[in-house]
Symmetry: C2
Subunit: 466 residues, 2 copies
């Protein structure tokens, strides 16, 4: 939680990841940034001070803790309003030892800076009008993005496409509201300034756009967090060989690049720019068995959470009865419109002839592969990517933030109430209340309407140093 809303003291934090590296960056922002830096920094260029420095310049020198030199550093100078926060700012680029990072931050604190809280730099940028709220949130999304789709989505939101859309909708509602309020002022004269037919038409348009935004969240969420894909099947079906094949395809691509995230975010890979989250499941028992333990229960839980299920079977071992029993087991998921169930017939390399009984399941998407020989794996990848492309809303604005979705749902609800109100001939002053509610929630998305709790929730989720 943020404790320092709208303060203007001077804050500092490490802006690069903790740990040892060639370089670490420590940021200062606030009115005392230059003075604090000058109190510990001795530039090589005689007479140079950060206070007098031109903006966008770099200064080479030494950091001293009283008479003891701590490090040789580069100091970058940014002057209000031309900085990330909009305030006077300094970035100190030091050697990346944890000792130096700690000592330098201690020194800055001793000289009067305060440790920045999570998200406090971006919060200040918001207060100084550098970003609206949805743009500020997209900064956190940009930093967290791990695929080209989620990256572009965050970038588009920072650019303000989504904000502009929301602001346009809000302006239309404000125009509507002002006419309604005008009617209220002249209530005793019983005039209707606003043409009801035009009103309802406008409301329908706004409502349609709000609903499109709400619907776009399905795609937005998937882009942001990756599509959950469960690979399930009996243990000897070749499930793990298949998973390795799928991951290795990607591994080969990312291994050219150092510092990739594959080690930490296990089994999340990006295919054609979309992230897929592969969910490892424990081997399933044959359909006649009961669920016996929590391990299996957890597998079923994961299957429920996933959007795509790859059911892997060993076609050399499958019998029609087996397969039918399995499909009966997963009936609920197969029939779920929001899920895809793909049957993967593995081990085609071991077959002379295709077992004809698979033809019985014509309605089911089936892909025959050899995980061992790496055959037809690309068909699976193509099918996965097609799942996302089916969701594609073209050039429409996409909502990816759960907070925005919540607010949009409230807006839709309020507008629906307005429509019903008009239809039922409810008094104008009551309708005005619902319009104000819709305006309030639209305003919360971009930050035109805000409160400390809301800001605390949003910026508290940022990393320190941003």
């Amino acid at each position: 939680m943020l404790h320092h809303l709208a303060n203007n003291d001077t804050i500092c934090a490490l802006a690069t990841p903790p740990g040892t590296s060639a370089i670490a960056l420590i940021r200062l922002s606030g009115p005392e940034s230059f003075n604090i830096t000058d109190s510990i920094f001795v530039p090589y260029k005689k007479g140079d001070t950060i206070q007098k420095a031109e903006p966008y310049t770099i200064h080479f020198g030494k950091i001293f803790d009283e008479n003891v030199m701590l490090d040789q550093v580069l100091v970058s100078v940014f002057k209000s309003p031309h900085s990330y926060t909009g305030e006077d700012s300094v970035e100190i680029s030091c050697h990346g030892s944890t000792f130096i990072q700690q000592k330098l931050i201690e020194l800055l604190l001793k000289q009067g800076a305060r440790m920045a809280e999570a998200g406090e730099y971006t919060l200040r940028a918001f207060f100084n009008g550098k970003f609206d709220l949805s743009q500020a949130e997209a900064v956190a999304d940009l930093i967290a993005s791990n695929s080209s789709a989620s990256h572009n989505l965050a970038l588009e939101q920072i650019r303000g496409g989504f904000s502009a859309k929301i602001k346009t909708l809000r302006q239309e509602l404000v125009d509507l509201a002002s006419l309604i309020e005008l009617e209220l002022d002249f209530a005793e004269e019983d005039v209707e300034f606003a043409d009801r037919t035009r009103f309802l038409q406008l409301l329908a348009e706004i409502s349609k756009e709000i609903n499109q935004l709400i619907e776009s969240f399905a795609l937005g969420n998937v882009i942001k967090h990756g599509i959950p894909v469960a690979i399930i099947g009996k243990t000897n079906a070749g499930k793990s060989t298949l998973l390795n094949r799928i991951l290795q395809e990607e591994k080969a691509i990312v291994s050219e690049i150092p510092g990739t995230t594959r080690d930490s975010i296990e089994d999340t890979i990006s295919i054609e720019g979309f992230a897929f989250r592969f969910i490892d499941t424990a081997g399933l028992r044959s359909s006649t068995d009961k669920i016996e333990n929590l391990g299996i229960e957890r597998t079923y839980e994961k299957i429920r959470q996933s959007k795509i299920i790859l059911y892997v079977c060993d076609i050399t071992q499958s019998t029609p009865n087996d397969l039918e029993a399995t499909l009966e087991d997963f009936k609920e998921h197969i029939e779920d419109e929001n899920k895809r169930f793909i049957l993967i017939g593995n081990k085609i390399d071991e077959l002379v002839e295709m077992p004809h009984f698979f033809n019985k399941f014509v309605d089911l998407e089936t892909i025959f592969v050899s995980a061992k020989r790496n055959e037809n794996i690309n068909l699976i990848l193509d099918s996965l990517v097609a799942s996302v492309k089916d969701l594609d809303l073209g050039d429409n604005t996409i909502v990816s933030n759960a907070r925005h979705l919540g607010a949009l749902n409230k807006v839709a609800e309020a507008i629906n109430a307005v429509e019903i109100g008009f239809h039922d001939g409810i008094p104008t002053d009551l309708i005005a209340i619902d319009i104000r509610t819709a305006l309030h929630y639209l305003g919360e998305i971009t930050g035109e309407v805000t409160n400390n709790e809301l800001l605390g929730n949003i910026f508290g989720k940022f990393c320190i140093g941003k």
Copy 2:
């Protein structure tokens, strides 16, 4: 291993730790740094280019991959020779998502940059005369340092104190050698240009200084890697409570600072600026038992490796016989001049009267504490710090690098051979060979004498991006 010695193509690498953060820094160095940056960077200030930019300036703009915007970045410009490497250099400060880091590096590679190898920036700084070899090595030490003592040692070495010392010694030897070589040129005339008494005196002085440097390694090594301290004792002696007490003292200090290393470097703490490496040992069986398994064997191995042994005993349970048997077991270590064996009498809180039999071991350093009540723990810490201070060589130059120690040993050996040679009246041309050997190894320390294998060994240990 370095494959690109003395190349002057343009290299790039991530200079900040891998992972997600507010900011990441990607560095370019080499003749094409400005052109490569200009090919992907569109500054906000119209007409601005990195090629035309003033040195030490910062440029705000966007990175494009063909027509697709990747990120908003800051580009810092450094012009040869005023950069870390001495070459034209650029630092691109981007948002710290792993996706952006990867894509930006891919883009730079596509535009003709090459991925930098470990240590390649500092290697280039060495080739461009920014550092000598021992200073370059100290850059890696600086980044790795985790206590104020190791930090200051690295900083002193970067400043060139050690290099100056070595160069002075080498110059004295060069002067000596040139007189010897002169004698060789006039060999048939059988003159002695060099006064033998003065020679031997000079050799003795050099020899003394070399030996002082060699001896300083004991302290240098301890400062750099921390003093290994084994805490041993029977399992109910309060060993782990004591360890927690010692570590918690430090925990309280470091917890004020974010991004500390305590999580990763378990049990290494800094007391009064010196690092101590606490070695966790399995509980020891009573002295009459035989070593029964590998676990216990490993404990004894760790005891052998440590410089300080804290033997913790529960004084409420100790008997004179017990204690005597234990001390007999550890006789080898107690009598080792290079080790300290400290007896920790724990649980004084549970005693009414001090057991008088402890007086028998007057020669042994004994500290009575209550780990439970946190009493007298500071006496242990004081004693640990005193161990380092005893080693203190004052203002003398301290060697902390094993490679330097190796070279100095070779120098000492060669000088010893010269002294013996003079003493035994060995022909001057043979003595000259030993002098040249001493000169060679002194030159290897600072890099006046070098070869690719040596450089590969040194810089291959650096982190990528430095």
